[in-house]
Subunit: 415 residues, 4 copies
Amino acid sequence: MKLQQLEPTTTAGRKFVELAEMHAAEAATRAAEHDRDGTFPVEAVEAMKASGFVAGPIPEEFGGMGVMTVSEVGVAVNRLGRTDASLAIAINMHLVTCLIATRLLRGAREAGDAEQIAVLEGFMQLLGARMIAMANVTEAGTDVRHPMTEAKPVDGGWRIDGRKIFGTLSPVADIILVDARHQRDDGTWGRARAIVTRGTPGMQVMDNWDALGMRGSGSHDIVYDNCFVPDAFLLPSDAWGDVSEDFLIVGSAGQVGLVATFLGIAETARDYVANMLQTRTKQPSGKVIASRSGIQHGMAELEIALATCRAHIAENHARMDALLVDRPVASVTEDELHELTARAQITKLVSQRAAIDVVDKALELSGGAGYFSTSPLSRMYRDVRAGPFMQPFSPNEAYEYIGQVALSQPLDIDH
Amino acid sequence: MKLQQLEPTTTAGRKFVELAEMHAAEAATRAAEHDRDGTFPVEAVEAMKASGFVAGPIPEEFGGMGVMTVSEVGVAVNRLGRTDASLAIAINMHLVTCLIATRLLRGAREAGDAEQIAVLEGFMQLLGARMIAMANVTEAGTDVRHPMTEAKPVDGGWRIDGRKIFGTLSPVADIILVDARHQRDDGTWGRARAIVTRGTPGMQVMDNWDALGMRGSGSHDIVYDNCFVPDAFLLPSDAWGDVSEDFLIVGSAGQVGLVATFLGIAETARDYVANMLQTRTKQPSGKVIASRSGIQHGMAELEIALATCRAHIAENHARMDALLVDRPVASVTEDELHELTARAQITKLVSQRAAIDVVDKALELSGGAGYFSTSPLSRMYRDVRAGPFMQPFSPNEAYEYIGQVALSQPLDIDH
Amino acid sequence: MKLQQLEPTTTAGRKFVELAEMHAAEAATRAAEHDRDGTFPVEAVEAMKASGFVAGPIPEEFGGMGVMTVSEVGVAVNRLGRTDASLAIAINMHLVTCLIATRLLRGAREAGDAEQIAVLEGFMQLLGARMIAMANVTEAGTDVRHPMTEAKPVDGGWRIDGRKIFGTLSPVADIILVDARHQRDDGTWGRARAIVTRGTPGMQVMDNWDALGMRGSGSHDIVYDNCFVPDAFLLPSDAWGDVSEDFLIVGSAGQVGLVATFLGIAETARDYVANMLQTRTKQPSGKVIASRSGIQHGMAELEIALATCRAHIAENHARMDALLVDRPVASVTEDELHELTARAQITKLVSQRAAIDVVDKALELSGGAGYFSTSPLSRMYRDVRAGPFMQPFSPNEAYEYIGQVALSQPLDIDH
Amino acid sequence: MKLQQLEPTTTAGRKFVELAEMHAAEAATRAAEHDRDGTFPVEAVEAMKASGFVAGPIPEEFGGMGVMTVSEVGVAVNRLGRTDASLAIAINMHLVTCLIATRLLRGAREAGDAEQIAVLEGFMQLLGARMIAMANVTEAGTDVRHPMTEAKPVDGGWRIDGRKIFGTLSPVADIILVDARHQRDDGTWGRARAIVTRGTPGMQVMDNWDALGMRGSGSHDIVYDNCFVPDAFLLPSDAWGDVSEDFLIVGSAGQVGLVATFLGIAETARDYVANMLQTRTKQPSGKVIASRSGIQHGMAELEIALATCRAHIAENHARMDALLVDRPVASVTEDELHELTARAQITKLVSQRAAIDVVDKALELSGGAGYFSTSPLSRMYRDVRAGPFMQPFSPNEAYEYIGQVALSQPLDIDH
């Protein structure tokens, strides 16, 4: 059975996905080593800079490839996920930032907001010049809408203090977007985004990522201790805790690569075990294992889970592009964004779980062979479990959010 | 949350789906009565003849609406399934026959096969003139590839003897396509399709359909007892038991309405219970039931199952049209048909089960109200369970088939 | 494979279960008719009075059979559930009342509470004389801890006003225990239990039960309209809304028959379909259907669900008897009762769902035969879905309760 | 919520389980280290020899503790599984061998088979003297009923040639029972069991176990290359491929520790995450995480899975002891053994999967904390997945076997 894979739909997208496949093939040769040693695939990101892949979703006017769809970023990350899931979720951090910045610029141009246009064009220049950006939002003991990291006003700017975890891509990021809270004049808290450039004093990547899986993703803690940020680099966004438009874009478009990675893992698990079953034989009959009826039943279960994973992502991609790409930014209502985000969270819940099920079934069908450390399946088993931890919603929170949107009830996802 | 429904994509399709929605609204007013009494909605089919709906998937040259996609037949049947699932699966019998005949004619014209063209054009004329056709394949104690109904040569034609079950649409069908076996000169069995017109002596609709659900579908037994068919009306197809191209088209395109009906049931169950939860209150708080966190969690589970149902169907529709509509008939390989059929069977397994889960969850969220005979949910609970019985594969057989296709193993689905 | 059934453990229990099996065999002959017509099996209850079965869980000193375990009531109801689930849940209403009254008397005697002893001994005399009792608690629009039915003080007693639903066993109950609220002197609400005898003016059984399944259970609405109850017949229990000891006994011991009934349905579904598969043959091979590998796989799934249903119930039975029967009443702590109730609710969630799955799988394995109205499986499909509606917790509430007990958090099951 | 754990039922069993708890507490201190380094806990087995634990299931007449039930071996292994699952499955290898040998001796004594009695008493002396035994059955590319390892007659005995995998406990085993095939005079193959003592020339433990989990179990390959075994040490059993009584005892009683280990993992995962949730707080509310409704729902799901795991094992234990311990050996029919084995395989399928689900849910509830290498949950996630690989049936084979036993069909589990 031929793989029924996600495909790009535009010329720029096809070129972008071809590059992804090339980088994926290269990464395949080193992924096991990075996994074993817990090292970040710096060389892969270098190659992506050289090929222009990292500027895929940047408009051509800024030196990018001009990939404008959300879906094609998903397709490209899917290809990377097939050989190196750590690399996929890491570079996805950057690609999503490109996507979001491009959309923000489009909105600013629609609105004719000169100041915003200037700031964002500057940012796009940096991304077009192949600098690497990442968001740094997660903290222990709170959710992403309530950062405890704090920005305090100091002379000419702000000092940032706090500690972030799960800082995926941190070994190579040039620009880090740090969510922080800051006290407003009326005593309430606002949430701001600080732009910190690599090497700023007071900012330290802790080099401490050591996890069950995704070991090459460089998801280190980052500590900010009196880290100075100039006034222009602190972008205030919303009230602390708000479910803002910004948050909803992260919760919808921002999920695309995160789910595509796990589809990639599942696809590879499928191919790997199908090949094993079709070539290995078993006594006493000596026939290929694939000829056994129990095995065929199990393989059907695997294919069903894989198809579920892919179908959700395909439908979600179509909705994403229809709402976020084909429509003027200002025409999209908050209700539409909530429905898109609820749908994206459904896709995330179902497809990441389906990917886990595919790997589990592949292990089962391997008959024990997949349990050895040297088997690619054993790495997939560890990597694929990372899915449900991905921000901004834990599975429990996602259920609450989906139910509330479905029933048009007030949002209350942390009660 | 607004329903994210399947949509038609062509002008003809949009008109067709609009008619479906009109007929669905009419059928809604009588569905409960037909369910209670086990009567067939003859008046609904009459209205569909009057509106031209029944000739939707017939080319305009033969008087039809010219709906050429497989997917849009699915969308139309989906709309009917929302209010009267019995009517939906019944008329689907006819619509699928139109689809398949149109494709056969397209193939014959591609090939320049004059004889086939003549036969099929004649058939299309009848369908364009709004005659109603149905296939009559299922028998007790055997599978659809091995009909025990027999065609024996007699003077000037054949006599048909046998008994069929699940003859959905039989109360109004003008033309019945009866699968039968016939002994060939070499002693082996062939499988043929006899065209029997309503009222032929020896053919009797038993008027005995009395089931748990789908009570208005008219799925009576039909007995053929020395029923004469002229030579020209017996179309030999394949070897008895073969998985033929014909069989694969039924197993892929032929499933579209069967799954769309159950999506329709699920959509209505969702809307019904969501409305109930948003309007009914509960003591001691007096707040709407929808405000409760447990209810929101349950509603999220319902939405997830519904999204899974829809995503599988949407992806399947796209593949159907790409292979069966956009491509020349002769260009489609047997392997491609097997993959399409395996994919369609995955969709059937998952989406019909998901529809069952949606109705089950709606019942649960109704808190007991849905269990009363007068509740639409109680009819849905009975109707929706019919899904997994739909031909040509039982769930157990579908698993075997999918596994064998996935692993490129010899087909053996009844061992 | 021989059925691995629940068994009684005492001499009295064995006799009681034997009677249950006799009554089950009789009920089998009329269950389909009562189901079709929605009539209550009055004759079955009469037979149970004649045999003494209805006084099974009443001490011998009051004329009962002296069955003292909770588990054996479950086993007996399980046997009835195999042939007539409506009868099983109906008579269970009465048997549970016997169990609870017996335990209350035991507690009163332990404590030497003469007044309580007198009241309860009087009640036990009535039950020993084979009068039929039922609790009448459920109302639309509120939960069982917050009855809106009200008891207001009048001269010499109370008037009861309100409407109850799901009054299972109402066609034959002699004594009805009605939960009501009453305003206390300090303005707060208390919850009381009124003892209403059949035929009291102002009390009307509405004879309106018409549901998807459990059609013979007589679960009519009962309306109380200025229904007088003497002072001595209003037993004040707790604060309105409290999770009291009384409530916990209902939520634990009170569940035993409710889950055992559904196990009984599942057991019969299993036997029915296993027999069908082992005797019916299928073409073209002509071998019994049971010989097919897909069918065997499905049967294994059925057996697994059935074993899960039974294992949960067996373990739960052991815990019930250990805590509620073997221990002095006063020695059981509230924490222990909560743990027992949480465990019972887990059993209810899992075993009722497993029973639904067994019937679903039996339908699937029947290949369509089970879908006909005349098939016992189609009645089972309707009856078995009643399980999750059983009081006092809906599934959503049960999850909340279990989670709160597991994590030692404050109870809050209706937020 | 207090853990509702499996408990021993006899005096000897209680002492045995107390020792298990002591050894479990000791093992807890080194389990993470053995896991990291892939080293076998030799010191733990030494301690078990010193305490007499390894002779637990050996009759007192041979110097053992006299634990005679199957269930109590399960309970003891369950305690070990809570802190060191590798150690648990390793020593279980030995304990099961003790159980089986004891049963064989009982059977021989019943039958008065002097020769068998002598051999088995000799073997029991060794076990009573605290020698460590293991079975060595699994090979790549065949199932356990069809060993390809071969015994060929040589002067005074046999030479053994072959390679075994998954040789759990191999670092410390003194006596290895090696399944092999041997050609009989009539040319057919028989299956025999060779007793190989550690250090025999030609037998080499490959020290190559390096897996995803169960890293301290010492499950090395063992190569037999012209390894001599005296005549008396080759016990012929059955025809090659037969499902023999011997096989059924392994498939039933032999599973007890294998499933109990995974229950132990699940119990520890539950306690670990429950403690975390009840003590860690989360912003912005600052309340303990356990207070959140989504978390409570997730915890209920965990408890349900854990209860399912435990309920299946408890019921299975009762059946084991009733058939294999309380009954004379000769009175147990082959049908009864098949039913017991089918039931044990159901327990294995359900309880090992439930244990996987518990660990998965604990990871989810940990919110990411459990994914770090240093978290005990990350080791549990790797260890718990070993369950479904345990012999003698893969999950696919187990489904076939259960279905065939349930439907009284001929056994055919490798077609």
